[in-house]
């Protein structure tokens, strides 16, 4: 059965974190990632009647989002930052393959509520304000290696927290219309 607009929107929102992450990986700017995600959602909804299964919709959405992201990177002379096409494609496939897994976004949001102090500030500077690690090192007076280490550990702590929260959850069943 063809997906309705509502169903398309629901499915894309369910995979929003993954799709936005795939775009962010190319553009490294959360606002641009959000804009591209919204553009893709609009396009998908105006393609009504063309999608029958979730994997088909997501495959289309990832590819469309990637193209927009690469166009943006090109226009903004940031193409050199984009990982190789093979890597991007493999990661997209893995993202699509994970649609049946328990969504990590909500667990991550809960974990973030528990983080405060220097780590919260570091993550905010890096991903919300978009500062590079060199700029963060200058701003905070820390060494560059120390910034990378702290950031690496912060990501690992968040991952551990997500795993704890999702461990007992029942994986969500994919829609195979």
């Amino acid at each position: 059965m063809k997906f309705s607009e509502k169903e398309i929107l629901r499915l894309l929102l369910k995979s929003r974190d993954r799709l936005a992450a795939a775009v962010w990986l190319v553009v490294r700017d959360h606002q641009v990632a959000e804009d591209i995600f919204q553009n893709v959602t609009i396009k998908a909804m105006t393609e009504k009647g063309e999608f029958h299964v979730e994997a088909e919709l997501l495959s289309w959405a990832f590819i469309t989002a990637r193209r927009e992201a690469i166009d943006w990177a090109r226009q903004n002379k940031r193409e050199h930052l984009v990982p190789s096409a093979t890597v991007v494609s493999l990661m997209e496939q893995e993202w699509i393959a994970s649609i049946g897994e328990t969504p990590r976004g909500e667990a991550l949001r809960e974990c973030l509520k528990k983080i405060s102090g220097k780590i919260a500030s570091l993550l905010k500077l890096r991903y919300y304000e978009g500062l590079s690690c060199i700029e963060i090192a200058k701003k905070t007076g820390a060494g560059l290696d120390a910034v990378y280490k702290r950031l690496s550990r912060a990501h690992q702590s968040l991952k551990n927290c997500i795993e704890l929260r999702t461990k007992d959850s029942i994986p969500e069943k994919g829609v195979h219309g």
Binding site: L13, K43, E50, L81, T86, V87, M91, G105, C133, K159
Partner: protein
């Protein structure tokens, strides 16, 4: 780099844009081979967008797009902060767009119905029925379909109208134009148009096609063989490549296109060939070949006689599949196997490198009974190196694919101290590739006497064995200089270390002969 923390730091530097060019190459290699590194990068990327969103909410900027999924399906008015492009504006846009699309769709539908009724007016019933059924009565074309898939195997993707993407292409699928991409050297497909004309593509290839009264094909990459029925007067089939344009009325030909050149070989009829760089044109007749490579006047050359010996040329532009690596002091140029996940078997990762047989040299490479395929290269870890070939009929049509390895019984490749290996596969051992087993009756049963079109080697497993190809060679049966590994391999057979349990009698004889030869050599 082994531990997770150092991988994470390396990837953070990649995201930060602070890596050097050689480090970027290194990190791309790591990412393409190491699932854990990809998992780390996915995790960082997901965390990055959610952290940004979390910070945005807590700074009071934009909470709108963070509404939980459950609150959206009913599209109940989400809140919008001033000056921000949020969901309400998106929904409004969607409604407007949907309304416009709906109107447009109805208009198109109306005009199509009118057009169809005009077209059928006054035509005899028989003609209409024939049209509906297709001239050849074999397949019915529905709606806007312009062609049907009459043969397919390997990894293929079709991108159709309005970006629709289909991974599972099966025989009988009807297509209303679009782009078909063959993802690997063992991919091939055949399209049959309404008038019975067929085009076949094999290997890594990209073809866009349409037929709105005139067939238009754009071959961006790969090799295309076509058998074209008589086309309407004034509307020849047009084949566009990066460097040439072909006009075809009724003929049989094959054309190969890559970034650098286009090579056309005509086996029947006549094709008008236009070089785009200078606009020069020439008519190419049967058994002639022309290429855009030369900067001189276009002069078709007679297709030269067959050769039985061939060696791959690894360069950037030859349409090979894999990552080309330039020569160094220690190693010649190599083609590094790249991961391939077949859409039909997403749990399998192959590491594959393939070479095309370059037609620009002019001579078809004909396989003789007893020819040998030699694959030379390097491995990082011991692995079974599997191989396959693609062959064409003399007219250029696709004839089939064959596997030269012993599949599950293929022994590990023997490497020297630097990881170099040389594997020899004898033509009598080759068996039909399982990928085309369902078309066994239509394709050639053996590769002997056919023209080599491409060859590939691959490993498979959880990890990459680091396969790099330095050379693939076809040796005729009477040639000298067969490498030492042939003897070593026969020794394994003689010693019982390799038991080829699935060999055909002919292959078994060949192996026994080889083993006996080796024993005689030792005895002498």
């Amino acid at each position: 780099m082994k531990d997770r923390e150092s991988k994470t730091e390396f990837l953070l530097k990649l995201l930060d844009g602070t890596l050097t060019d050689s480090e970027i190459t290194q990190v791309n290699q790591l990412l393409s081979e190491d699932p854990e590194s990809r998992e780390i990068l996915r995790s960082i990327s997901e965390q990055a967008v959610v952290i940004a969103e979390h910070s945005r909410i807590h700074s009071g900027e934009v909470p709108v797009s963070t509404l939980p999924v459950e609150s959206v399906p009913g599209l109940k008015a989400p809140r919008v902060e001033k000056g921000i492009f949020g969901w309400v504006s998106m929904v409004v846009t969607v409604v407007i767009l949907a309304f416009s699309v709906s109107l447009l769709y109805q208009a198109v539908l109306l005009s199509r119905v009118t057009r169809e009724s005009r077209k059928t007016e006054g035509k005899p019933e028989k003609e209409l029925a024939e049209e509906k059924q297709g001239r050849y009565g074999q397949e019915r074309f529905s709606g806007d379909a312009v062609a049907t898939i009459s043969g397919a195997s390997g990894a293929l993707i079709w991108t159709g109208d309005r970006g629709r993407i289909v991974n599972e292409i099966t025989v009988g699928t009807q297509l209303a134009g679009g782009t078909i991409e063959g993802l690997a050297p063992d991919s091939w497909f055949e399209l049959r148009f309404r008038d019975g004309s067929t085009v076949t593509l094999s290997g890594a290839s990209l073809l866009t096609f349409a037929d709105q009264g005139q067939k238009q094909l754009r071959l961006r990459e790969g090799r295309l063989s076509a058998n074209v029925e008589a086309q309407p007067i004034g509307k020849p089939m047009l084949v566009h490549t990066r460097s040439a344009r072909l006009e075809v009325l009724r003929t049989r030909f094959d054309v190969e296109s890559n970034l650098a050149s286009t090579v056309l070989s005509v086996s029947k009829g006549k094709v008008k060939f236009r070089r785009l760089s200078d606009g020069s044109e020439v008519e190419v007749e049967a058994m002639h070949q022309v290429t855009t490579e030369s900067e001189d006047a276009l002069v078709p050359a007679m297709t030269s006689g067959a050769v039985h010996r061939w060696k791959s040329e690894l360069n950037r532009d030859s349409g090979n599949y894999g990552k080309w690596q330039p020569p160094s002091d220690q190693m010649p140029a190599t083609l590094k196997a790249v991961p391939l996940i077949p859409p039909a078997a997403p749990h399998v990762t192959l590491y594959l490198a393939g070479v095309s047989v370059d037609r620009s040299q002019g001579s078809p490479v004909v396989l003789k009974p007893g020819s040998r395929l030699v694959v030379r290269g390097r491995l990082r870890h011991a692995a079974q190196v599997h191989c396959g070939i693609r062959v064409n009929y003399p007219g250029g049509e696709f004839a089939g694919m064959f596997r030269g390895d012993l599949q599950k019984d293929q022994p590990l490749a023997t490497m020297d101290s630097e990881g170099r290996f040389e594997e020899i596969y004898r033509l009598p051992q080759f068996t039909l590739d399982p990928a085309v087993a369902d078309r066994k009756s239509e394709l050639a049963s053996r590769p002997e006497g056919l023209i080599l079109d491409g060859a590939w080697a691959f490993t498979h497993g959880q990890r990459s064995a680091g396969l790099e190809i330095t050379e693939i060679e076809i040796l005729p049966p009477d040639s000298q200089g067969v490498a030492f590994k042939d003897v070593a391999f026969n020794k394994k057979v003689a010693m019982g270390q390799v038991v080829p349990t699935v060999l055909r009698p002919s292959a078994m004889r060949s192996w026994v002969h080889g083993a006996v030869g080796w024993l005689e050599q030792v005895a002498r």
